[in-house]
Amino acid sequence: MFDALTQTEWEAIRLSLRIATVAMIASLPLGVAVAFILARCRFPGRTIVDGIVHLPLVMPPVVTGYLLLLLFGRRGPIGAWLESTFGIVLAFRWTGAALACAIMGFPLMVRAIRLSIEAIDSRLEAAAATLGAHRMAVFATITLPLMLPGLIAGMLLAFARALGEFGATITFVGNIPGETQTIPTAIYTFIQVPGGEFDALRLAVVSVVIAFGALIASDVLARRARRKVFGQ
């Protein structure tokens, strides 16, 4: 069956994996930081930050894509600045697709990590401080290892969301084979063409396999992390 995949289909698969992986990894540091702030800090405007983070979850993806286009398009305020300063163009590029996916997956990632931080007994961190560990050392040796299972769950959710992302991607970066055409947008294209149902089905099977693989991999990792963190 894999021999039967066309050049276009292979490219869509490769792009999808690359975009999802980049989106997941690139949003991780910010995701951890935001989750930490929301879990631990009390400050005015916290609800607003929480709201902004969750916005992509409740807004129609097309709206997110459109807003991205307005802001990060070549004539948008951020897009124009990025292009003139760093020569970075996001609109209609695979990097833009990664940005769209990262934003769509961000609330899910933050939510999972935040829950794992809230579950940590902060008295353990106080104990570490009395043993001479400064704040960064406490984070690296106590907080981070204890939130590892949640971190893995958050990464999987972001990855899965990125694989399935359609609306924001197609609005912001279009559906260009070889550049921005991911598995979902490729399936959409096949369905639009008469006689493309079988191609769509093959890609659908591929996406089920990838999703299942990601699920199993994260489960194995999470279980290993939990064993390492909490003993037998």
């Binding site: 106080a126 009395t130 001479g132 560990a133």
Partner: protein, 369 residues
Amino acid sequence: MSLSVHVEKRLGPAGGSFTLSAKFESEGRVTSLFGRSGAGKSTLVNLIAGLFRPDSGAIRIDDTTLFDSTASIDVPAHKRRIGYVFQEGRLFPHFSVRGNLLYGHRFTRKQDRWTKLDEIVDLLGIAALLDRRPASLSGGEKQRVAIGRALLSSPRLLLMDEPLAALDQERKGEILPYIERLRDQMRMPIVYVSHAVDEVSRLADTVVLLDAGKVIAKGTVNDVLGSRSEMIAEGPEAGVVLIATVRVHDQVSGLTHLAHPAGDLSVPLSSLAIGSKVRVRVRARDVALAVGEPGRISIRNRLAGTVSDITDMTRGGVAVRLDIEGDPLIASVTRDAVRDLDLKVGDPVTALIKSAAFDPLSFGNTTWP
């Protein structure tokens, strides 16, 4: 080691429902912060540890100022070099016992290190646990590891916040000798928080009695447990701590005989070394008085003394203070008894204490005074 604490902190919801205002100095090796739950003891040790910040005041150890609100000094917790043993242990679940023990050790500068893993492991008897995870330890084992972890950070002072409160009587009896070893062998300065009189009377040199955020008495164990303050004198735990020497163990009758200048004491059989000094707590309510020869009675422990003070208590009893060969002893008796015996200050009396009145936790080794 000298510790000087003089702090104020407002606590509670909406701020100001409760003000902790405490001032004490300690030159003692074990200072006990003693009082009911909610008296402010734990808050006070958290202030000393640097986990809470006082509203005002100063905290000093020897020549080092850890906190001073007027000079804006506030040394962060991780730089204070104060070990802390928490009530719930707080072992790190993702490290082995060895990893837990060495956690603080790693953060201690080489020139500040004065404890070694092997020594501490021996002292606390935890060699067999080194490769285990905290989740698989019993409550008593966890606390021993927690004590070892704090010691291995080479602290200049050890704070212990009700370290035995979560353990049953048997486990308590298992851990107390280890804390006595810290005090007597390692000479570790300790601030020991407890609401349990048996722990305080076995461990403390100096006792600071707290109630509703205020220090209401401080001094030696006998100053405080034998205090005339209503809270102690009228309570069930009023009494004294006597120092005696282990004379002989009698396996057959299940008794250990202790020698005191005023007479022998028989207490439930223990494993204390013969010839070693022990602290024995004697509660005022367990002491009866006899004038002259008591005659044929079952009570074996008879200490000779003279009446030094007779104080009426508000609830009807009388606290009779005795001098037994230089040591104090208090008997809680009824007014009728004082009248019938015609007790007066200076009268010679015999204090009677049932052997069964001593519970096994109420005595333990000491090198003090």
